[in-house]
Symmetry: C2
Subunit: 336 residues, 2 copies
């Protein structure tokens, strides 16, 4: 067990009051120079470290921001964290990170830890369980405590705070237009995340775009990545498809593998675009054209808004920032 | 700015001393029932939250462990974090994460934050800058404070604490043996991380293994991933290579792409094995056979040791746990 020396321990050792110790360590002129030195010597010999929080309660600022992400194994969140860290460092703040692991209880625990005075504000993406249950007590509590808070990507309409989101609808819409401009006439939408709001927005954007092109929407929903190969093989055997838009990069990579098994050449016979610009897209063969959400930039923007809020640089009304997606062209789509 | 109510604020409002407020909120019988209730009512109306740290100084336990990782965009560390989180949750502990971003200063700042009473112990992998500079003041300080500490993967011989490492030498040695058993006679080692201790251990294991097979070591060092395609094309044009062992999964995936460009079929003409079992290996085409370091398991083991240490279940001498690697066979190596 770590044995941490407290002010009280020092007071006992020095035979003075806690308040005298505190004043001495803070160089208060109320305490005589000799006593001050004696107390400092005792503190040093005990390896005394002033308590961060006790200090921060004085200045009411910790120069630290808390971040809560739903999952550590999703590259998108890691890239957002990277962006938050960059911006925070730039502006002289530290970050501490908690994981909710998609659990409401853990999310609430983390919020509580942060409210208890250890950070100046919080950035978070809402846990899946919270989105489903619609129980927002912990967020209402943090609002009551006037804790500055920025939600990103997965946000709650019912909670008033600053928000940074991605235009998933427009991202999918633009990807279809991109494929159509390359000459694709039968564009399939492959969706392994149709049960999430993000997956739904992407599907809506796809439907809107193909309808505008007078194509019938052609959607393959799968509940697990392992189903993709079989589902697409059936499609390839029965329909003439010349492009696939996949709702994430993993399904895009697996669509490429399924195409190869069915003797379709990419991009000559089939173009493929996936959502999110991660390592799988970069190292896929051929490398994948993707709809990038600028994850790192989302992190920078969220941190920038939070710090502006903390530092009193924003007006009272909440900020709602929508980050535009961009198509990053690689080798899985035809070059005309 | 968050406006946090302090004990002192409550004391002023109630017209009593800080000590009376504290005792009342902790249901001390020293304070009369009516006064207790009055103070609790004031605390509630002010949204007062008891300070975590002040509480923990009483029990000397926060049920929280701190983790410091050098980089958030390296999947290995994310998987270790995942394992730490699993084990900590299992045993009733929370985790808070800081990033050192390979910087000694940030690493020291994080250690200081943790020493200041917010966690019961620390798990970390050492920042590159610290490994180079060999300046370990912050670790010596945490040792002085009897802060339980577990280092994983990148550890320091000069610091006495519990350690969890991977047997990189043996991992490379076994991978060469695996390739040789498949019939490979000309095994090349592709190393994009020769400037790290980990990359060096893997190279040493490779050299030892091929020497035992009476093959000449054939090592291609690259300083950047973009050099791989050109470097390997030169090799393919001038030498007969039938297998590549790559020091990480990214270089393994790029080696596959280079082979395809040179009309080599995988695994018929060339077998490829990479280190680390991540998403790139899983989604590569063909999927990659890898040397897995069991990253998630490393996290679980490190957290288990730390919690045993915190809970006084270990003897004084430090634990040194070496995690064995394992070959995960996929489609980039011949099946005989």
């Amino acid at each position: 067990m770590p044995s941490k020396t407290t002010l009280k321990d020092l007071a006992n050792l020095a035979g003075v009051s806690v308040s005298t110790v505190s004043k001495a360590l803070n160089d208060s002129p109320e305490i005589g120079a000799r006593t001050r030195q004696r107390i400092k010597d005792i503190a040093e010999s005990c390896n005394y470290v002033p308590n961060n929080i006790a200090r921060s309660l004085k200045s009411r600022s910790t120069k630290t921001i808390g971040v809560i992400i739903p999952a550590i194994l999703i590259e998108f969140f890691n890239k957002v964290l990277y962006g938050i860290e960059q911006e925070a460092t730039e502006r002289g703040y530290k970050i501490v990170i908690c994981l909710s692991n998609e659990s409401s209880r853990k999310e609430a625990e983390s919020i509580n830890t942060f409210i208890n005075g250890s950070v100046d504000g919080v950035i978070l993406s809402v846990a899946e369980e919270t989105q489903k249950s619609k129980v927002y007590d912990h967020f209402e509590k943090s609002a009551k405590h006037n804790m500055p808070m920025v939600m990103f990507d997965r946000v709650l309409d019912d909670i008033t705070c600053d928000k940074v989101t991605v235009d998933d609808f427009e991202g999918a819409f633009n990807a279809v237009k991109f494929l159509s401009d390359l000459g694709s006439k039968n564009i399939l939408f492959l969706n392994p995340i149709s049960n999430t709001s993000v997956g739904q927005h992407r599907e809506d954007g796809y439907v809107k775009a193909v309808s505008g092109l007078n194509q019938e929407p052609n959607i393959v929903n799968v509940s697990h990545y392992t189903e993709i190969e079989k589902a697409l093989s059936t499609v390839f055997n029965n329909q003439k498809i010349d492009a696939i838009l996949a709702a994430d990069e993993y399904s895009a990579a697996l669509a490429q593998n399924a195409a190869r098994l069915n003797n379709l050449k990419i991009p000559q016979d089939l173009s493929v675009i996936g959502f999110t610009n991660g390592m799988v897209a970069e190292y896929a063969n051929p490398s994948l054209t993707v709809v990038s959400q600028h994850a790192e930039n989302i992190g920078k923007i969220a941190a920038g808004i939070l710090l502006d809020r903390i530092e009193g640089k924003l007006r009272a009304e909440p900020v709602n920032k929508v980050v535009k997606t961009k198509i990053v062209e690689r080798n899985s789509t035809k070059n005309i």
